[in-house]
Amino acid sequence: METSLNINFAGIELKNPVLTASGTFGYGYELSDLIPLSELGGIVTKTITLEPQEGNLQPRIAEVESGILNTIGLQNIGVKAFIKGPLKRLSKIGIPVIVSIAGARVSEYIKIAKILSMQNGVSAIELNLSCPNLKKKIICHDLCLVSEIVRGVKDISKVPVIAKLSPLVTDIVEIAMAAQNSGVDGVTLANTYPAMAIDVETFKSKLSTVKGGISGSCIKPMSVRCVYDAYQSIKVPIIGCGGIMTGEDAVEFILAGATVVSVGSSSLISPKNLVKIICGIENILKRKNVNSVKDIIGIVNRSLV
């Protein structure tokens, strides 16, 4: 029996449900010697801002048990340089490219989205509404602001708009609903969790910004829960994200309600893990006699029809 991994996410046709997670795959095209990029479901780029950003001071990375804390600070080359260089090369790979964007204010989000949605090779825009590294409070803590950004970007965007949400909110359903009601085409659940680690030799925080975002296998059960809760209430499709290391992990997210998944920390350890995860999903579906990955979205605690 042939098992199909094809999936449609918010109108974008993907050959399989595995995307790279923003900020973990560079600009994407530089790894062609290590993995066959065209075999991925799609690429979500690192977050792009209007102007280039230098990023935070060292140290930016701290390893913890089964995970990693980071405070990169959105280092990127800015939207103009991104279009001239990386975007051109990314669009040659032949798979959907979702560009992650962030801004310091609503008008910046709109401006970047306007520029990007006029370009060839942009399949969708992912709004980074949850980067916990900017010193100001994160956007997801303000429902009105989330709505304002989504509406503003949706008004001008010619491509689907996805909102990447922070898991550190009182009610993930409420924020996902707010994004949906403002017209978003899909949501990514979830970003890293605000976290902190301290060096007991120096008595200092292990990150230059004191706190950072935690990712890796240790956060997976919490993000699976976010996806499950949101899936019960929202209609727009979900990109599940958080600590996916294997095909099993990816299938967990899909069973909880994710239409597709994005993989971050695991591909930092080895880009090849992305391909292994795709194979892993396929193997599970075959073993369970599932025809299509579509058939298992959100069916946890229910039986296959």
Binding site: Q58, N70, I72, S270
Partner: protein, 262 residues
């Protein structure tokens, strides 16, 4: 030619050199051909989340091997030191090595760099590993300035002697060579025509840079930063190079001394 590999490779040995220092030798097949001094591998250690970066200490064409020199400094290296056989996951060779004119040649024996003065290597602690590979490839031998805490922290001295390098040592406790910092002696002896190749802890590098910049000495430094991927993707290992944010893993780890802002 530049090529990177991400596979499982067999351990030839992983043995104690002295005190807390270990040498890990891996059979890598033809991968050795793509290894240049200053480059590194990311090595998976079971039981810790991220891979660890290790500078290449040597690449051997007869055994088709690469070797690494490391010190037990934490959980990862402690676990690694206890793995004596079997396979390890290696990703590499990564980064840009010592920027010599012939570094693009496949034949890494062609390190025929000839500056107007002496080739001077300045190493501190386990920084000796990356310059060891360099010393074995540089055709024109020179002087190694090598500082460590104590006599038991000085590594691979016989190798450097065997390669024909003059060795000047210092230890902080005076148990071998000059008592004090290696940069004190370097400062007295360095000539403006010399070329520096350096790797070691940040305080030492800062002092080497001050000396080199003060005398307009050409030099190359291999830097170290915490990194998650080794490929330029996580952007964790940023350093300031001529006012710009660059990645140690991808744009380095070796940079021109005059460009580095530590």
């Amino acid at each position: 030619m530049r090529q990177r590999f991400d596979e499982d490779y067999e351990i030839i040995y992983n043995r104690r050199v002295q005190s807390h220092y270990f040498e890990l030798k891996i059979k890598v097949g033809d991968v050795y051909k793509y290894c240049f001094p200053g480059q590194f591998f990311m090595i998976s250690v079971p039981g810790v989340f991220l891979r660890r970066p290790f500078g290449i200490c040597d690449a051997n064409d007869k055994e088709k091997s690469v070797s690494f020199l490391y010190k037990i400094v934490g959980k990862g290296t402690e676990i690694l030191a206890n793995i004596k056989s079997g396979a390890l996951k290696l990703l590499g060779p990564l980064g840009k090595g010592y920027d010599l004119e012939s570094s693009t040649a496949l034949n890494s024996d062609a390190y025929t760099y000839v500056g107007p003065g002496n080739n001077v290597i300045v190493a501190g602690g386990t920084g000796i590993a990356s310059v060891h590979f360099l010393a074995s490839r540089l055709k024109k031998k020179g002087i190694l300035y090598y500082g460590a805490r104590s006599k038991s922290d000085l590594l691979h001295l016989a190798n450097f002697r065997g390669l024909g390098w003059r060795i000047i040592l210092s230890t902080e406790d005076g148990s071998e060579g000059y008592k004090g910092y290696i940069t004190d002696i370097l400062s007295e002896q360095l000539e403006s025509r010399d070329t520096i190749f350096t790797c070691g802890p940040v305080p030492m590098l800062k002092e080497v840079f001050k000396i080199a910049k003060g005398r307009n000495v050409l030099g190359f430094a291999s830097l170290e930063e915490k990194m998650a991927c080794g490929l330029g993707n996580c952007q964790g290992c940023a350093v300031k190079i001529r006012g710009q944010s660059k990645m140690v893993c991808k744009d380095g780890p070796v940079f021109k001394i005059e460009d580095v802002e530590l």
